[in-house]
């Protein structure tokens, strides 16, 4: 009871210090100010997240082109394509394209180019600026050429060789004859109908901007790619039979192609399914797109990072440097893959429920409040000052002599001072978090707070997710106060006991930063010191991860951090008490 009273009194003494209260007030004020600053900077930077924001047509000074009564202005994204096709026609007419040696091929090429110009002009009616639709237009332009070739073949209006030369001068085919010539007329007709339908779909998508049509068009493009890869695989397989000596090299190429097909099937197509199912328009700032992007990047991560076998591991310098042993490598890889799987799960759940995880709402109050934990080093620095003020200053100012003649054991006196600094720091930190959260809610909406955080096992409320992490941030406070305490008792100088832990604190950031970039994970012993855990919040997984914290997480674990920070704090406290009990007060 006495002890608590004494701690309360010491706490009051801390608040009597004007410098300290001003600093604490400043910390809290800044915490409230951060959301306002984020709001301001984000409002300025919003457009940066749009990939097409800075794309502009370079032909601003040229005259508009009129195609079939449609005026295409020079700032239109289709302008360049039309201009290029017009130039191509001039080149063909002047006979400067040597592959178009016959009259028939030149005529066909000009007609293909004109068809394309017509298509682009129709696109230009609906696409006024650069966006993901522009890409769709570029990718669909081949369809027009294919349609022309099939129509000409069916009508017999041009020879196959003239058509091939014409087609290849403007578009691309892996195997023209297999794609067009070797088909029966029925197949050609079916293919022509299909392609015409696709062209119609594409144009109708540009007109209506319906996401379902977009998905349809994109899926067809993906299927084209798959068809092309399959064709290439078939060719390579034929090549192996012809040239068994090249088998190793060729089968590697086949594997690569098979992988590309798998990538489309496993990643691109499911992404399009999401867009169709939840009507997610590509490339805007919505959380749904963030979720899809996370789905894609994590899937891709797993796709490209398979665990190599022991032999391959041993043969690669990079791996042996980075991980030392094969077991460590496997463990790290499994961890990363498991993390990626969790992220995929989080994306899927968010999309299914329509309630986004905080990772996808980076301008939401949850994410902002969570990110603020990264700033917990500010209260930590403040706690050092409070510690220096209340502990070391006693020695320096001589007040220790009037303090230790009270009917209290030195242990009790030291502990109550220690606890008061700790309580002070935690109070300031908690208040800073609360004020920050309130400001975030005000600026970025309260509703976001009610959304869940997904876990491998299900979901939890934001506070259930946030509180344990906020509590973890108290550990660095505990450590720095213990650090200040021990320096105070041994050095008995206020400046030193603030400066030494402060320098160590800053140095620990630099060391952690540097080690994150160190190629072969030098200084392995550092993970057994408090250094990498001083900013424990950097070990929390975040959506927008920095390289440092990402690398740090691979080497330093939070449970280890909890153990080391607690143990060193306890050791410092014990050493300080032992020393303090025996100390002759010579000041």
């Amino acid at each position: 009871m006495d002890f608590f009273k004494q701690t309360a009194t010491e706490l009051r003494m801390l608040f009597y210090s004007r410098a300290l209260t001003v600093l604490a007030a400043l910390v809290i004020l800044v915490s409230a100010g951060i959301p306002f600053m984020s709001k301001f900077t984000r409002s300025r930077m919003r457009t940066v997240y749009n990939n097409y924001a800075f794309m502009k047509s370079d032909f601003g000074s040229e005259e508009p082109i009129i195609v079939d009564g449609i005026t295409v202005n020079p700032d239109n994204p289709m302008f360049y394509e039309i201009r290029y096709m017009k130039e191509t026609i001039i080149n063909i007419e002047s006979g400067s394209i040597f592959t178009l040696s016959t009259e028939g091929s030149a005529k066909a090429a000009i007609e293909i180019a004109e068809e394309r110009i017509g298509f682009f002009a129709q696109c230009a009616q609906h696409i006024k600026e650069y966006s993901y639709s522009t890409d769709v237009a570029y990718m669909s332009a081949n369809l027009v050429a294919e349609s022309y070739v099939l129509k000409s073949l069916l009508e017999g209006s041009a020879s196959a060789s003239d058509l091939e030369a014409a087609y290849m001068s403007i578009a691309y085919s892996h195997s023209f004859s297999r794609q067009f010539i070797e088909l029966t007329p029925e197949e050609q007709q079916a293919k022509l109908d299909d392609i015409n339908r696709r062209i119609a779909d594409t144009l109708s998508y540009f007109q209506t901007k319906e996401i379902q049509k977009y998905v349809m068009v994109k899926k067809c493009i993906e299927n084209d790619n798959i068809e092309m890869f399959k064709m290439q695989i078939a060719d390579l397989e034929a090549e192996i039979i012809k040239n068994p000596i090249k088998e190793d090299d060729l089968s590697m190429q086949i594997q690569e192609l098979a992988k590309q097909i798998a990538y489309i099937n496993e990643i691109n197509i499911p992404m399009l399914d999401f867009r169709e199912k939840y009507s997610i328009e590509p490339n805007n700032d919505s959380w749904e797109n963030a979720a899809i992007a996370s789905f894609e990047s994590n899937k891709a991560y797993i796709f490209y990072n398979e665990i190599i076998d022991r032999e391959k591991f041993a043969s690669q310098q990079y791996y042996t440097d980075q991980y030392k042993t094969y077991e460590a490598y496997v463990k790290a890889m499994q961890q990363m893959i498991s993390d990626a799987n969790i992220n995929i799960l989080i994306s899927q759940r968010s999309l299914e429920t329509g309630k986004p995880d905080l990772a996808f709402v980076t301008d939401g109050s949850r994410y902002m409040a969570f990110s603020f934990l990264q700033s917990s080093f500010v209260p930590t620095a403040l706690s050092m000052m409070a510690g220096g003020f209340i502990l070391a200053n006693e020695f320096q100012s001589g007040t220790i002599r009037l303090l230790l003649i009270r009917p209290r054991s030195r242990t009790k006196i030291l502990l109550s001072k220690y606890c008061s600094v700790l309580v002070f720091s935690i109070l300031v930190f908690a208040l800073a978090c609360l004020v920050n959260m309130a400001a975030n809610c005000l600026l970025f909406g309260f509703a976001d707070m009610a959304l869940p955080k997904y876990t491998p096992g299900g979901q939890q409320g934001f506070f259930a997710f946030y509180l344990p992490k906020a509590l973890l941030c108290i550990l660095p406070l505990l450590f720095s106060v213990s650090f200040v305490l021990i320096v105070s008792v041994f050095a008995r100088n206020a400046a030193l006991s603030i400066v030494v832990p402060m320098v160590f604190y800053i140095a620990s950031f630099l060391v952690t930063q540097t080690l994150a970039f160190s190629p072969n994970n030098a200084w392995g012993w550092v993970k057994y010191t408090p250094i990498p855990y001083y900013n424990i919040a950097s070990l929390f997984a975040r959506a927008a991860d920095t390289y440092t914290s990402y690398m740090s997480r691979q080497v330093y674990s939070i449970p280890m951090g909890i153990g080391i920070l607690t143990a060193t704090s306890a050791a410092f406290l014990a050493a300080a008490i032992i020393r303090f009990k025996r100390l002759d007060i010579t000041n």
Binding site: Q6, M13, R401, I405, P407, D584, I585
Partner: protein, 304 residues
């Protein structure tokens, strides 16, 4: 009642004997001086009494509580100021006193106002400590020592920084505390003259040893005084006085002896019987200060 008792207390710092087997006592209602030149070991002794220094050897009891085993109990009964009255400068005098009161409980809080008025600081008690003069800080220093109504007051050089009026006031305060409330006061100074007037007894310390213990009680009807006997045979005279149990010092052609006035005629007779030629007798009441200087200025006045 013995409020403070030091038994063979020694302190070694870095193998150097700073205090050598000191024994002393302070009783209730008594003001005891502790005098010695700079570096004699006064502050070290006081720091040991107040628990700021550990003891190398010996035992210290305050109100019967051993400070090594019953520290908290012992400290409840003692108040003090050691070296300078270093208080928390950034807060007011009152907040300082409130802080120190918190170590003693409610009663100490209630004592703040009376104690402040006792040290005559009521007017400025709510000002920041940093605005106080050294004299005012000394007053607050005394106030914090009195908050819990201690039985024993230990003051280390309390007159530092006080003006003559302040010194006079301090003396009166201490006198009234000891006589009216029965508080024992142990007061150190390097200037004997400043405390001589109020002390009942004085211990003189030099080089870590108590070299003199004087009772200064002047209210006795038959006090021991110092007489100078001009004699022919100084050694013989000394032997006589020592045989009679009187303190004696011999000088060239004369002997100093301490005795009650009533004993003087007997001594004259005795010396004559002893075969000592006695030429004259006079009262040789030197000031304590002169003795103090004599006593402590051996070894060419070097500080050890």
């Amino acid at each position: 009642m013995e409020l403070l008792k030091l038994e063979n207390v020694s302190k070694k710092i870095k193998n150097k004997d700073i205090v050598k087997s000191i024994s002393l006592t302070v009783n209730s209602g008594e003001i005891v001086g502790f005098v010695g030149p700079n570096g004699a070991g006064k502050t070290t002794t006081i720091k040991m009494i107040m628990g700021l220094f550990s003891l190398t050897q010996g035992r210290i009891a305050i109100c019967g509580y051993d400070i090594q085993t019953d520290f908290e109990q012992a400290m409840k009964t003692v108040g003090g100021v050691i070296e300078n009255p270093d208080l928390y400068l950034k807060i007011s005098g009152r907040k300082n006193l409130e802080y120190f009161s918190s170590f003693y409980g409610e009663a100490a809080f209630k004592n703040i106002d009376p104690v402040v008025s006792l040290v005559k600081m009521s007017q400025r008690i709510d000002e920041r400590m940093s605005s106080y003069s050294l004299g005012m800080k000394q007053r607050i220093g005394l106030a914090q020592a009195l908050l819990h109504m201690p039985s024993l007051l230990i003051l280390d050089e309390p007159t530092n920084g006080l003006d003559p009026i302040g010194i006079k006031e301090l003396r009166e305060t201490l006198k009234s505390l000891s006589k009216d409330s029965g508080i024992g006061v142990f007061i150190s100074s390097h200037l004997l003259s400043e405390i001589e007037i109020i002390c009942d007894r004085v211990y003189i310390i030099n080089n870590g040893e108590i070299i003199e213990h004087r009772v200064l009680a002047s209210d006795s009807s038959n006090p021991i005084k110092r007489y100078r006997f001009e004699v022919g045979e100084t050694e013989l005279a000394c032997r006589y006085f020592e045989q009679e149990g009187m303190a004696c010092q011999s000088g060239p052609g004369s002997v100093f002896a301490e005795m009650q006035r009533d004993a003087v005629p007997e001594a004259i007779k005795g010396l004559a019987n002893y075969g000592v030629k006695l030429y004259s007798i006079e009262l040789a009441q030197r000031s304590l200060e002169a003795d103090f200087i004599d006593l402590t200025q051996t070894n060419d006045g070097q500080i050890f």
